[in-house]
Symmetry: C2
Subunit: 222 residues, 2 copies
DNA sequence: CCGTTTGGAGAGTGGCACTATCTAAGCATG
DNA sequence: CATGCTTAGATAGTGCCACTCTCCAAACGG
């Protein structure tokens, strides 16, 4: 199919598709002549994935490129591709200083990971984006006056563990390695807003259950 | 304290503090003369909250203002303030169309909420930001070829419910209504990256457990 | 009295995700 | 072949956002 049809079928403007092609988020089409290129179904699928990552998953373009190129990096094996892809995913602010508060937070996190026997996370991936994001969040909470101990974090870690099992079960539904790779990235990123919104809804529900009045005020937000 | 000291103690540049004051994220200081203003500890705390929301919680400035003004809106009672504040929090893309896929997603979500007996969410807050974010995510997943049924969502909802209970228990540790309000906002927002990073770490851990290195990983399937 | 500091306001900056414009080369039709 | 529409590709521009810079006049302080 031509670029125009790709645009029509995906709902993405042609200018934006051209931009994605330029940025390497989308592999170039099969050149048919100097001014024509042919795109396949795979391009459409990839385009939808890009849109989902960028718009719903809030993944920056540059990170999305890293993720997607990792997915098809022939020099890596299956699990290395996935690791590289997920590694490129998150996007938290870099820590500004390594002060006492941060050391405390790191100790708390390490205690938690040790208690859970998550030794892999502690050793080979201690500087993974996820680990750093966790430490940064704990630091921020502490500075705000909400210190969180390993005990406080434990319920979230347990939830994370159960969800991870669910996630991997979902991914295992897919047969081919390529499908699994895409599914892993898509499900990791796109279930995040699912989880967060369900938590918010549950908070409102539980709050109503405890304190009994509707959460929503009346006089705001047309 | 003066603006300069506020800056020094918070680590936020004076220019940025002035910007926050202009934007109404920070209440003005007590005017001492035409060119002097005095700031209290409360300003410092508020400033730290703003920074946490904006930098770690990725809340846009405009939303942060809505949240913070709701927290001190004297025309609302305690729970209305909290509702308004949390209502202003998230920031997903607005849905583009109300097509068949979206209707399906809505039905799936409603089924899930009904099954959980989350009637409040279904009725009075059916158009809450969280509900819309959830529907949008399900739509995106479906369009990508990852349909998720109410059964698929159930584990995430279950996790959300347990976390909501934990969250409210944490908030109840605080005595005064004002403290509870700030805690509710801070903990809702700042535990999000905690939860997401713990999920990522757990995924890596579980993945290693299933497919991992020959040393420790044995093919234990869950 | 005078250099420095302060609060305030407006304009400017840099990053990012597009988006509009332009150009040259097709392809389609008469 | 002439004519007009479409396409791929490149370059420059747009809008938004979170700051950040510059300036001013008042005022503090030695």
């Amino acid at each position: 199919m031509r670029l125009a049809e790709l645009s029509r079928r995906s709902g993405v403007p042609t200018a934006t598709i051209k931009y994605y092609l330029r940025e390497g988020l989308l592999p170039p089409g099969r050149r048919v002549s100097a001014t024509q290129a042919e795109y396949e179904e795979a391009h459409l699928q990839r385009l939808r994935l890009v849109r989902a990552l960028v718009q719903v998953g809030r993944v920056p373009i540059a990170s999305a490129r890293e993720v997607l190129t990792a997915l098809e990096d022939d020099s890596l094996d299956h699990s290395a591709r996935l690791g590289t892809a997920v590694w490129a995913l998150p996007h938290g602010p870099e820590p500004d200083a390594d002060d006492a508060v941060r050391k405390d937070a790191r100790r708390t996190v390490d205690t938690l990971l040790g208690r859970l026997d998550w030794t892999h996370a502690q050793e080979s991936a201690a500087e993974s984006p996820a680990y750093r994001m966790l430490v940064t969040s704990v630091v921020t909470l502490a500075r705000l006056g909400y210190p969180c101990s390993a005990d406080d974090l434990a319920p979230y870690a347990h939830a994370g563990r159960e969800l991870a099992v669910t996630d991997l079960d979902l991914i295992e539904r897919y047969e081919s390695p390529d499908e699994q790779l895409e599914a892993a990235v898509a499900l990791t990123v796109l279930y995040e807003p699912v989880l967060l919104s369900l938590r918010r809804i549950a908070q409102a529900e539980e709050s109503e259950r405890r304190y009994g009045r509707p959460e929503r005020g009346d006089g705001e937000r047309a």
